[in-house]
């Protein structure tokens, strides 16, 4: 095994242990999950700054490592702001032109003292041929003002700071950095069935924008935004993969011990074969998700290769997780339908994941555009 592979295995083991314990709190054993995890625990494990430069207090790692944490968060169905505050915020900041303000935010994220949210699009958006920004910067006699709205934005409602994707008068894209309590900025929690995710509505009405708060992308801004939405899709695919494996493990564990008609239900072909199908699905999805994460982590990957891999991973894992969590509920029988079993937590999270950052059908449409 290479050093890099060993480091990743170590990270996975630590994450599984740590998040597993967090997820267990207050749930029955059959299906842990749904509990929150203390932000300082994540900071202490050095997961907040995985992609932050070492000089800023980060680990100088890549998205491949972030993907492992994302998968383990899904496995434990943990409630956390990791997607919005880390995966998307750090990803966004790393694509911007370097600057002291930007670097300060990165170092604060790594330290766990700042929990921001990247507001790039509505939560169901995916990269389309035409990238558009949810906010716009408009001049006014008193200076530039920000207007716009984005819905179902992960982890926005509780964020300290917002990184808002905006278009200026000339149509070029930039990130507007804003304190979340800034006048004219409104953050509203949008409660959803999946209680492990926090989604928020972000509205900007004539928010004052100083020139120093407008941060430019280092390269082609449209390509950068495309990458960020692909990053979001892959991170959610990782989450779906992790939660699917948890549901398979819970179902197999239950089928081994639950007896009906005088024998374990796992010895019946109807149950055994359903579990076998779940394992096959998980194995295939793991290949696609790993491939996508590695492509995104490699700065040399062409945009279209990242996009295709992201769409395959997101469509496959998104569909699969709902199917597997659904089968898990079915194979657990009556107990599976109880609130206490916690399986509903996974089913709701899987269904929400499927809709976040592009439904499977939307991703397949993007794939088909390559040959249709």
């Amino acid at each position: 095994m290479s050093d890099q592979a060993e480091i990743r295995e170590e990270l996975r083991a630590v994450a599984r242990d740590l998040l597993g314990r967090a997820g267990q709190a207050g749930r029955v054993a059959a299906a842990p999950g749904g509990a929150g995890v203390d932000w300082q625990v994540l900071a202490g494990a050095d997961w907040l700054g995985l992609e932050v430069a070492a000089g800023l207090g980060g680990a100088d790692a890549t998205f491949a490592e972030v993907a492992i944490v994302a998968e383990e968060l899904g496995r434990a169905a943990v409630r956390s702001s990791y997607l919005g505050a880390v995966v998307l915020s750090v990803g966004t900041l790393n694509l911007l032109e370097p600057g002291a303000d930007r670097d300060l935010v990165l170092s604060q994220i790594a330290a766990g003292t700042l929990v921001p949210a990247a507001v790039l699009a509505n939560g169901d958006a995916m990269t389309e041929a035409r990238v558009s920004a949810p906010f716009r910067i408009e001049p006014s006699p008193a200076g530039d003002r920000l207007h716009g709205q984005a819905a179902f934005v992960p982890d926005a409602a509780s964020a300290d700071r917002l990184l808002l994707l905006a278009a200026d008068q000339g149509g070029s894209l930039a990130i507007v950095d804003a304190e979340s309590r800034r006048h004219g900025l409104e953050l509203t929690e949008q409660p959803v069935l999946d209680e492990t995710r926090s989604l928020g509505l972000v509205t900007a009405r004539a928010v004052e924008v100083s020139p120093e708060a407008v941060w430019r992308f280092a390269g082609d801004a449209r390509a950068a935004v495309g990458r960020l939405l692909d990053r979001a899709a892959i991170a959610v695919a990782c989450d779906s993969l992790g939660l699917s494996e948890a549901m398979l493990a819970a179902t197999v564990g239950y089928a081994r011990v639950r007896e009906q008609f005088g024998r374990p239900i796992g010895s019946f072909q109807a149950v055994k074969h359903a579990c076998a199908d779940m394992l096959v699905q998980v194995r295939v999805a793991r290949q696609l998700v790993t491939e996508a994460a590695q492509r995104l982590a490699d700065p040399g990957s062409p945009d279209d290769a990242v996009a295709a891999a992201a769409s395959m991973a997101k469509s496959c894992a998104g569909d699969m997780a709902v199917d597997i969590a659904g089968k898990a509920m079915q194979l657990h029988g009556g107990i599976g339908y109880t609130w206490e079993s916690g399986i509903h937590v996974y089913l709701k999270r899987a269904a929400l994941n499927r809709a976040l950052f592009g439904l499977p059908g939307a991703h397949r449409r993007r794939l088909a555009a390559r040959y249709a």
Partner: protein, 402 residues
């Protein structure tokens, strides 16, 4: 060697294989093999095998001492380039170079290996004599008997579904040598010369109308004791150890074919105007299905590569080969079914498909019917699911009947 040097070496090898394919894959072989007679098919298969052998591409998976020795990474490149070039497949020699060779290498004596491995390279054809009329999924209940008489065994029984039996020189034969012990402990594994008196082959006509398989009738067939492979009554264990051994690379080859040839042909079929005028590919539902197939095939190819890597590293799981076989066979079935739907009635008017082609020849309706040749033999999909459940997930076995 650094990773970069390995990659550079692989790319050089890829270019070499690509060039070889450009100059050696016979043009128009699909047309020539469509409706080919048995002799034309066998002659073509032998000639193509000789071509591959001359290039060092026929048995890359064998040990170097026997004429192979290609690294797994290079084999991946080789099979993916052969698929991309739409080269003919090795069908006649399939059992010889995979099952026979892996059995000889795993359990054969030096004399047995010396007798057969070079002969296989020279074109010796093998058939597998495992299934019987009363022993399909429950293979271990086979009844063909082998009775020891002096320096030989006398064999009586009937074998079924022997692929390529009518062309075979030799047979990998499982027979019962001890009827008194539990069924898996009384089976022995033999190398049977098909020219031995008492061996009779009758073709079986299969669902596609072709006759790739045969029945083998064995009446007082005498097999010298030196042609027993592995220990007497240890045949089941030899068969188990070698059955899955060749799965990885052959599955990779088939997955590459499905991706490079099958999917390409499917997109072409969807892009042709239908009788009603429009093109299927302009339909959103068709696009969705195509993208799903592309995703599934990409996952399959990746799964095959990691199966090979894990096998090399000695960390493959006990159900990994079953997972790949099950996924491939059902994906093939769904894909050929979709091709059949897309192609409409004209697909049903294609009454024969090219011999020597893969499982996705583009004669979609026949390919679809033929896809059951993957979901039934080599352990049915149901048997694979049981293996995955029990060995892969550790679920309890079904209480044994009787």
């Amino acid at each position: 060697m650094t990773a970069a040097a390995a990659t550079a070496g692989r790319e050089e090898f890829r270019a070499a294989v690509r060039e070889w394919c450009r100059t050696h894959v016979p043009s128009g072989w699909r047309q020539a093999q469509t409706g080919a007679s048995d002799e034309e098919y066998v002659g073509f298969q032998r000639a193509w095998f000789a071509e591959l052998r001359a290039a060092g591409f026929a048995v890359p998976h064998w040990p170097a001492a026997w004429g192979g020795g290609m690294s797994a990474a290079e084999q991946v490149v080789l099979y993916s380039e052969l698929a991309a070039a739409d080269a003919p497949r090795l069908i006649l020699a399939f059992v010889s170079i995979h099952h026979a060779a892996s059995t000889l290498l795993a359990a054969g004596t030096p004399e047995q290996c010396q007798r057969h491995l070079p002969a296989i390279l020279d074109g010796e054809i093998w058939v597998q004599g495992f299934s019987e009329p009363e022993a399909g999924s429950d293979l271990a209940s086979l009844r063909t008997s082998a009775r020891r008489e002096g320096d030989a065994y006398v064999v009586n029984g009937q074998k079924l579904w022997a692929s390529g039996a009518q062309h075979a020189d030799w047979c990998l034969l499982l027979a019962r040598t001890d009827p008194a012990v539990p069924k898996r402990r009384g089976i022995s594994y033999f190398l049977l010369d098909m020219r031995t008196p008492g061996v009779e082959v009758r073709p079986i006509r299969q669902a596609t109308g072709e006759s790739h398989f045969g029945e083998i009738f064995l009446t007082d067939v005498v097999i010298p004791a030196g042609q027993l492979i592995g220990p007497e009554n240890g045949g089941w264990q030899v068969a188990q150890a070698t059955l899955g051994a060749e799965r990885g690379m052959t599955m990779l080859e088939l997955a590459e074919r499905l991706g490079q040839v099958g999917f390409r042909r499917l997109v072409e079929a969807c892009s042709r105007p239908a009788a009603s005028g429009g093109r299927p590919i302009d339909d959103g539902l068709v696009q969705d299905k195509l993208a799903e197939f592309e995703t599934e095939i990409t996952g399959l190819r990746s799964l095959c590569r990691s199966l090979i890597e894990d096998h090399e590293a000695g960390c493959s799981g006990p159900a990994d080969a079953s997972i790949v076989k099950l996924y491939y066979s059902e994906l093939l079935q769904r894909l050929t079914d979709f091709g059949t739907q897309i192609s409409g009635l004209p697909a049903h008017a294609e009454l024969c498909k090219p011999a020597s082609a893969g499982w996705e020849s583009g004669a979609w309706a026949l390919d679809f019917i033929g896809s059951w040749e993957w979901t039934i033999p080599g352990g049915t999909s149901e048997i694979q699911r049981t293996i995955i459940g029990e060995r892969g997930l550790g679920l309890p076995r079904e209480p044994a009947a009787g």
